[in-house]
Symmetry: C2
């Protein structure tokens, strides 16, 4: 297997990316290749740091960098030689098997959607994010930003995608799926939820357990919480902002510390034809190491094939 | 003025309601009347506790109680002699000037909408909730549950209602209004936000400052954050659940302690013809005291007239 990673992605690139690759290669038996994409100087620097892994590393020079604040589609067009464009080209042409970047999130989303394409049958790919549950488990919230407006059928597909990821990557047997809603009983909520509920109940590819309210999201009421990307994105960013507060207020608590979203690495784009993982701008070495591990697991478990089979 | 309060509302009724009334009357010069509504035994008990305020208190016997789990419309119909029904009847017939209850939230919403009616020009009343900002200020999130599906024009009205409340009840001059969204720039977000943004920008009755993301909600980016009731309700309940965690994990932090939503009393129903305040089920004495103070301020400042004038 060959995992591509963007050396230029994230606020502390390329240093943290390099440290993450090092952590990853140091601590586990990795039988594949890692393709690092970046500017000449970033690659020069990375080769120094990773010289003991020369036989594992591949290097791809991409002279341009898409900055964090740039407009996604404009930047992808105007900078064809950026590391993000290069990463998607390698992936689309099967020269690599996964792509990881903590760069411009919008560009990563657009790239995933347009370079990689959806798995046949998947109308709308989605992004899942980890939500630490109070009892120590980890659940998935899907979608957290790819689809601001959704149809009920989209939510059912998110439920299937999230369920498969939960089962095959997070190793949860029979993952419970709940619909994020503003009431407990069937029939509650906005029109989208009212219409999606019966479809989720009927769907035999998931274990649907009903509605979950905002207050249930940390209570392990489900392994997969489904919602449209608007609410999911607002919730995720709100949860992330809490961690900043915990940190600045020097709150020391094992559970609250798990709101450090860096611990989980990036978020997977689900429903596209290849493993794509989007990292947070502030990703540190741990985050990159985790993203590499997730990519490895997705390739090892043949996750894309599993999703493809489910949507035939 | 005459403020009606439901003795039967909340998980610790009538004790906490009585204690709240006592706190309120003990600590301030109150020149009006308080009408307490409840079963005979609750009133008997309250009269004992509040005997020194006999000249201020009015008592209204309502033999029935709408329980927390009951279906709102069904309960209001099948229990015409409930304290909530009695409260709205008193208010609708101008025998009282405000109504406070921490009882069945749904029944309070339905009662407010159908007994009290909207202020002319207000298409959809909304509920505002206080969100403690990290810098010590207090902002309002509106709507938090009355309107699961909204049109762009509704969001503009919520902005005006929230802005007026912020100015006249929370004493904030020129309150800044932001649209809760999933991106910073105009044009971002779901169709609702994309369409609402230019309407908010054009509206000369508010000071619109643009989009706020989930991560901005505690950062005092605005005095009023506007959203449809679905996202607002999910966010509020999520924030409330954090406080439960802080408490059970014995986190001691002045700011995080402000997520104790009880501190703020209840949430006002804005856009209806009379002051209606809905308390949280777990409301304690402090919450009831605060709700009485808010009701007093709303009556004193002639808040309903202010809103009526704004929507002429």
């Amino acid at each position: 297997m060959n995992i591509a990673i963007d050396l230029m992605g994230g606020d502390f690139a390329p240093e943290n990316v390099i440290l993450g690759i090092k952590d990853f290669l140091e601590h586990k038996q990795f039988h594949g290749k890692v393709t690092a994409i970046g500017t000449e100087s970033a690659i020069y620097h990375a080769r120094q740091e990773l010289r003991e892994y020369e036989n594992i590393m591949h290097w791809v020079v991409a002279p341009d960098v898409i900055e964090m604040h740039e407009h996604p589609t404009k930047a992808l067009k105007s900078k064809p030689h950026s590391s993000i464009n290069a990463g998607f080209t390698l992936l689309a042409t099967s020269q690599t098997d996964a792509f990881i970047s903590a760069g411009n999130t919008g560009a990563m989303m657009v790239g995933a959607l347009y370079s990689i394409k959806s798995i046949p049958g998947v109308t709308r790919p989605a992004i899942g994010a980890y939500i630490p549950q109070e009892d120590g488990t980890l659940s998935l919230l899907i979608d957290v930003g790819l689809n601001a407006d959704c149809k009920p059928e989209n939510l059912v597909q998110f439920a299937i995608l999230g369920s498969l990821y939960s089962q095959h990557i997070l190793n949860i047997d029979n993952p419970r799926v709940a619909l994020l809603n503003i009431g407990e009983e069937e029939g509650k909520g906005n029109i989208l939820c009212q219409t999606a509920y019966p479809l989720l109940k009927e769907c035999n590819r998931i274990l649907f357990t009903g509605n979950a309210e905002g207050r249930d999201l940390l209570k392990n009421k489900a392994d997969v919480y489904v919602c449209e990307g608007f609410t999911g994105n607002v919730m995720l960013k709100f949860a992330e902002s809490f961690y900043d507060i915990f940190k600045s207020h020097q709150i020391k608590d094992e559970y609250l510390n798990r709101f450090n979203f860096e611990m989980y690495g990036g978020v997977p784009v689900l429903g596209v034809n290849k493993p794509v993982i989007i990292g947070h701008g502030i990703s540190g070495a741990t985050a990159f190491n985790n993203m590499l591990q997730i990519a490895e697991r997705m390739i090892q478990n043949n996750f894309i094939q599993t999703v493809t089979d489910a949507f035939v």
